[in-house]
Symmetry: none
Subunit: 224 residues, 2 copies
DNA sequence: GCAATCTTTATAAAATCTTTATAATCAGCC
DNA sequence: GGCTGATTATAAAGATTTTATAAAGATTGC
């Protein structure tokens, strides 16, 4: 958390409400009532998200948004009392990322704030255990920050173990998922590749911390 | 335009309506009624945006979304008849980028589609990695400042790799995007053209730094 | 027809997987 | 505890698959 959010809203009650709401989520909030002041601040200090009320006193919110978008691509959530379709379309086409109409639910607004912070900071949904990280989007594994090259089979096994973290997977389950149903009588395949994975991922392959053996049953990835 | 949009919606009337609506904007639309089929398609061929109806017959839309997000970060707009706050919050926290409730205005939906396409495909004026630069507007590639001539096929492959920087693209994905769906059994096409690209772009084509092979899987453009 | 490009093909090289042998470890039993 | 048979770990050789590359043939557009 601790993302910085700029609120541009000229109704004092609403400004105060938004500030309080966002601070409950540990966000740092900068509130403004006037468009010019907000722009000046943004030039000085970038923020992670902007909440914009269209009904400003000193200038038109749509114009403000259009002007902002000429140089800044920070996500903007528009908050407005205007329910008309054409207002929404105009704001979105002016570069808004989302449009919320008053009255709105606090929980929904916070969820939309989270969503917009998330997709702008494309932090991958990565699995990690210890100093090992697996990023299924990039199909990439790293150890202590350094990329580790895994073969297709090794990667498939690790992904399978991660998707069932802390559970025991039998040889047959691994063989079926990775090699296919007809390979259930080749447990040695799993052993050889598991040894390879340990060589690449464990600090002490002979005394594995993550890739544990369950004798007589199968293997388990310990996430702790 | 010409972005590809996947629609997952099990009501035939709504599916048809969405398809028609999106096609008026020159989008390429792939419609599905079942979650499994849609996932299978996405693995084969990435899209630019996903419209998801939460009320699927064969599985829970929220589960589908969570599963998708474990490996895919394509923008998702949820369309739902459920107006409850907790449904919205859950969907947004599951990784949805936007949430639209039925009944919705066509113009607003299209505006939200535009907004989500725009913000997730930042209008990079030029991609670059190392001393290589690709300008999609001029359709021009240069290396260390000097223009490099690429054939149409070479350029298409490079652009595709750049749009999915650092991700692995399978042979099938490359073949489908560049040659078409009926070429998925010709991986040698990709190999030959990839070798050409390396000759033109890499300092040491035999030991590529950018255009990496992932044996058994596909190719990856390494930007980092 | 010519030049550029794409497709096809053949061969060499590289990477990975499978197989095998041996050593280590484990579980049950006396 | 120590023995025994079964299971597991590991390295390394062998086999197979996958990939790189050049070059010849086919196609396309001007």
């Amino acid at each position: 958390m601790a993302e910085t959010i700029l609120v541009l809203e000229d109704d004092p009650a609403m400004q105060s409400f938004l500030g309080t709401l966002l601070k409950t989520q540990q966000h740092q909030v900068h509130s403004f009532s006037e468009g010019i002041a907000a722009l000046q601040h943004l030039v000085q200090q970038p923020v992670d998200l902007i909440l914009l009320d269209l009904g400003l006193a000193d200038m038109d919110g749509q114009l403000w948004l259009a002007q902002l978008r000429s140089w800044c691509d920070t996500p903007v959530i528009v908050i407005s009392a205007r329910h008309r379709e054409q207002d929404k379309v105009q704001a979105l086409d002016n570069g808004a990322n989302d449009y919320v109409t008053k009255p709105f639910s606090a929980a929904e607004l916070l969820a939309r704030v989270r969503a917009n912070l998330r997709h702008n900071t494309p932090q991958q949904q990565a699995f990690s255990f210890g100093n090992i990280r697996l990023d299924p989007v990039l199909r990439q594994v790293s150890r202590a920050g350094a990329e580790v090259h895994l073969t297709k089979t090794e990667y498939d096994i690790l992904l399978l173990l991660m998707r069932h973290a802390d559970k025991v997977l039998t040889h047959n389950q691994i063989l079926t998922q990775v090699w296919g149903k007809t390979y259930t009588d080749r447990p040695e395949y799993v052993r050889v590749h598991m040894a390879q994975l340990r060589q690449k991922l464990e600090d002490t392959p002979a005394a594995p911390v993550y890739l544990k053996t369950e004798p007589g049953v199968g293997y388990r990835l310990k996430m702790t």
